[in-house]
């Protein structure tokens, strides 16, 4: 995971803020240990945490969270707290990272997916309108997965080149869409609303690709720029 150069930086040490963010989820002792391990792993043992140092420590922290937090929702909350600290202390924007993979098993997971979309969008500094569009597009993809494939996963990444934005990849191993072109054509009207959902997501996104192998599943990638 790599991070772009900081856009604005606060001179002071971010370590207390990072600890405070971790303590929302972990005990104080574990929070201290996690930070220590992350600093060692990114070779930033000494000195103040700021700028690029903070970026690499945060990246190491985010990477290690998966081992401690199995619950996607908790992980999401913790990552977004860390990213807020990063933004506040001028650290980072991931250039192309995949910090979150959210597993979709039922409609109950939808709020987690849309919340992840919102957090990513906020992290890149997207407007409220952009956030709403991204959440809506993500909800369409996620609901399609639940409805037609039963389960799947949604990956989120923020990127900084060529311009800032959020990448959403929705993957399922369901039956696939027999005739993608027909479904995506504006004339298509389905009883279940699948066409409306996918077409809607496409219209809301800046880039939209759909790959489909009948019987093997569907992968939808969409990008939304700030």
């Amino acid at each position: 995971m790599s991070y772009a150069a900081p856009t604005q930086s606060k001179p002071n040490d971010a370590a207390p803020a990072v600890l405070a963010a971790l303590e929302l989820t972990f005990s104080r002792a574990l929070a201290n240990t996690l930070l220590m391990v992350a600093r060692q792993r990114s070779n930033e043992n000494a000195g103040q945490l700021s700028g690029p140092k903070l970026s690499s420590v945060l990246a190491a922290l985010e990477g290690s969270l998966g081992a401690y937090l199995a619950d996607a929702e908790k992980r999401l909350r913790c990552v977004s707290a860390l990213q807020r600290v990063g933004a506040e202390y001028g650290a980072l924007l991931a250039t192309e990272s995949v910090p979150w993979v959210i597993l979709l098993g039922s409609e109950r997971d939808l709020p987690v997916v849309t919340e992840a979309a919102r957090t990513c969008a906020q992290h890149t500094g997207m407007s409220v309108l952009g956030q709403t569009k991204l959440m809506t597009a993500t909800a369409e993809l996620a609901r399609n997965i639940v409805q037609y494939a039963g389960s799947g996963e949604v990956h989120f990444a923020t990127f900084a080149t060529p311009s800032r934005g959020v990448l959403v990849v929705a993957i399922d191993r369901g039956p696939g869409i027999p005739d993608v072109e027909k479904v995506m054509s504006p004339k298509y009207v389905s009883k279940t609303g699948m066409g409306i959902g996918l077409q809607g997501a496409k219209r809301l996104a800046d880039e939209f690709t759909i790959e489909c192998k009948p019987g093997k599943g569907t992968t939808v990638r969409l990008r939304k720029y700030v």
Binding site: E73, L110, P111, K133, G197, G200, R203
Partner: protein, 134 residues
């Protein structure tokens, strides 16, 4: 996550039912809301239904369809429906997606929605009166 399906509360105010839609709607909760609303409309005399969507962070095609269906069902039962509280962001997103709420009365907020229902009722009453005069 908690595995309990909460029913959306349906509030009665004067002759109107007010439903504030919550985020994270599932197929099951939409079905349940539909059943609850139609049952209440059938059992109790109501003339108006207000669907408040101001608590929603987004409206995808599923939620939009659920709202539209509720409004159409209520209209078929003779109850005027007003949808209120669409945020500017949601309104723009709906238009960008090519979705609309055709044939559904909308209002900026709850107050305006109530006013609209009162006005609609007065108009009805006036029409009744003038037809009596003839």
């Amino acid at each position: 996550m908690i595995a309990v399906e909460y029913a959306t509360p349906i509030i009665r105010l004067y002759d109107n039912f007010i439903v504030a839609l919550q985020g994270g709607m599932s197929d099951a909760s939409v079905d349940r809301l539909r059943a609850d609303v139609t049952e209440r409309i059938g059992n109790q005399t109501a003339r108006g239904l207000i669907l408040d969507v101001s608590a929603l962070a987004y409206m995808d095609s599923f939620v939009t369809r659920a709202v539209r269906d509720l409004a159409v069902i209520a209209r078929l039962m003779g109850v005027t429906t007003v949808v209120c509280g669409l945020s500017p962001e949601i309104a723009i997103t709906l238009i960008d997606m090519g979705l609309e709420l055709p044939g559904v009365m909308t209002a900026l907020n709850m107050e305006r929605a109530l006013e609209a229902l009162f006005r609609a009722r007065e108009q009805d009453a006036n029409e009744l009166r003038s037809s009596d005069a003839i």
